[in-house]
């Protein structure tokens, strides 16, 4: 660390920029956590939005862990033809604009989409259902878990696994009691990031799942639709999102510290 005084121009520019980054969040908090906070929080529109968001993101997380963990393990540990290409392509949803993701989902799973007729025959109708919300979140958010889990599995000391296998543990027990606990802080961090991204999902959801209170209208969609009429619910939900975002940051910091990867916490 350098103890010399900062040049004043640098301090001014840096300070202005920091204020620019922090001010909108502070304004949201002060406006949202006003006197009407609790009554507005208890209004049906707000409660429904929170319920839909909580419920759909939890399902997204469960599917992410169940399907993302084996895929991440394969990508981190096994070599197969096209592995590097697949690895790179699976990051695509992270950089894709969400509304493009929504259009892709619509053209794939929609009624007139690629898989639509087949799904229809099977009696599965995704459009405008909470399942569509989950698919949108899964598509845009799960790659965050995939990345973290891959890094986690790659960082596990292979000697520890080998020792467990020599000591008579089967491959499953070695994974369950050695690999999984060692990779766990990575997985948890990936899961928290996935949750945050899923919670903030907007573009893909509004295009693919529509917007109906209590069914598909998540917190972000509720903020958008409330903006047209009564600002109250939008402010309260925004304040809730700021608090959630802050908790997510704190959790990620704590996890990184626990992982002990040398980053300052």
């Amino acid at each position: 660390m350098n103890a010399r005084p900062l040049p004043w121009a640098g301090a001014l520019l840096g300070g202005l920029f920091a204020a620019f980054l922090l001010l909108p969040t502070l304004v949201l908090l002060t406006r949202g956590l006003g006197a009407d906070f609790l009554p507005t929080l208890r209004s049906p529109a707000v409660l429904d939005a929170l319920r839909v968001s909580l419920w759909t993101t939890m399902v997204t997380l469960v599917i992410t862990v169940l399907t993302g963990t084996p895929l991440a393990y394969l990508l981190a540990r096994r070599d197969f033809p096209g592995r590097a290409l697949l690895d790179a392509l699976l990051d695509l949803p992270v950089v894709l604009p969400p509304v493009v993701a929504g259009l892709g989902l619509l053209l794939t799973f929609g009624r007139s989409g690629l898989l639509g007729p087949g799904l229809e025959l099977a009696g599965i109708s995704l459009a405008f259902s909470p399942a569509a919300v989950v698919l949108a979140q899964l598509f845009t958010a799960a790659p965050f878990y995939l990345r973290a889990a891959k890094a986690g599995f790659a960082a596990v000391d292979r000697d520890a696994e080998a020792a467990a296998l020599i000591d008579g543990a089967g491959p499953w027990r070695a994974f369950r009691f050695v690999t999984w606990p060692l990779a766990f802080p990575f997985l948890l961090e990936g899961l928290v990031l996935t949750w945050a991204r899923a919670l903030g999902e907007f573009g893909a959801t509004i295009l693919f799942a529509g917007s109906l209170q209590g069914q598909t209208r998540t917190v972000t969609l509720a903020i958008y639709s409330a903006l047209d009429s009564d600002l109250g619910p939008a402010l309260v939900l925004s304040a809730v999102m700021v608090v959630v975002a802050f908790s997510v940051l704190l959790t990620v910091r704590l996890l990184a510290a626990r992982r002990g990867d040398g980053r300052p916490s």
């Binding site: 405008f128 529509g210 009429s229």
Partner: protein
């Protein structure tokens, strides 16, 4: 001295002659106003830019201080609350409702089917002008008693999504995601006709939508803004609006 005069004239001329006009207009006006804007610009040399969105969105933005020169709304409900910011009100057009369904989806054939079991209906949200008119139309069916007194309750129970503007409503039907939707007659454009069909809506249930237009008092281009309103309500503007399915007031 003469050189200064020339320079000043050169700098001032473009701004004095041609204005950059910002028009906030209801989503349903998208096609008609885009054509009107092109004709108006060609005629006057002004440069008109449009922001199309649900009237309720534009109203919120204007109330929050958004800068625009003209506001055209699809209902008075989203226009009169801004009366303090706006100049005199004129009616630019009228519109009717229509029920649409996907071309290759036979589920909805008549208005009665909107309340049928398992029908996926998409409407605009109640604060969107067309969403408000749609609910009034359902209420009118209730009062007529033709399809039972709880028709609108059953139809509203079929609503699977409430969209924020009429073009999003139409999109859901043209993608065959919804079985039916209520939009304006003017939204059934040649492009949309390729994928949707019109379900007959008896005129005694239909609602007439008045489209108010006004200039913003805070506009820096007052003359150009008033010229735009005059063009829209004039012979040429009305002809374009009629061609896009609107009724003249």
């Amino acid at each position: 001295m003469n050189r200064w005069l020339l320079l000043t004239t050169l700098i001032l001329l473009p701004t004095a002659g041609a204005a950059n006009l910002t028009v906030f207009a209801a989503s349903s006006l998208t096609d008609a106003f885009t054509e009107i804007g092109r004709t108006f610009d060609a005629r006057t040399g002004h440069r008109t830019t449009f922001q199309f969105a649900g009237s309720q969105v534009l109203r919120t933005q204007l109330a929050a201080g958004a800068r625009a020169d003209v506001f055209a709304s699809a209902s008075d409900a989203q226009f009169t609350p801004l009366a303090g910011l706006l100049g005199p009100r004129a009616v630019l057009a009228r519109n009717r409702l229509t029920v649409i369904a996907p071309r290759n989806n036979p589920k909805v054939q008549t208005v009665r089917d909107l309340a049928g079991a398992g029908v996926r209906l998409v409407l605009a949200a109640p604060n969107v002008p067309v969403g408000d008119y749609s609910r009034r139309m359902l209420g009118a069916v209730d009062r007529a008693g033709t399809y039972g007194p709880d028709f609108s309750r059953r139809a509203l129970g079929n609503v699977v999504s409430e969209e924020s503007n009429v073009r999003q409503v139409a999109l859901k039907v043209s993608l065959n995601e919804a079985d039916a939707a209520v939009v304006y007659a003017s939204d059934v454009t040649p492009a949309l006709k390729k994928t949707v069909r019109v379900v007959p809506l008896p005129s005694r249930f239909n609602q007439l939508a008045d489209y108010p237009i006004g200039t913003l008092r805070a506009s820096a281009n007052g003359d150009a803004a008033r010229a735009f309103v005059a063009f829209v309500t004039g012979r040429e503007g009305q002809a374009i609006l009629r061609r896009w399915g609107f009724l003249s007031p």
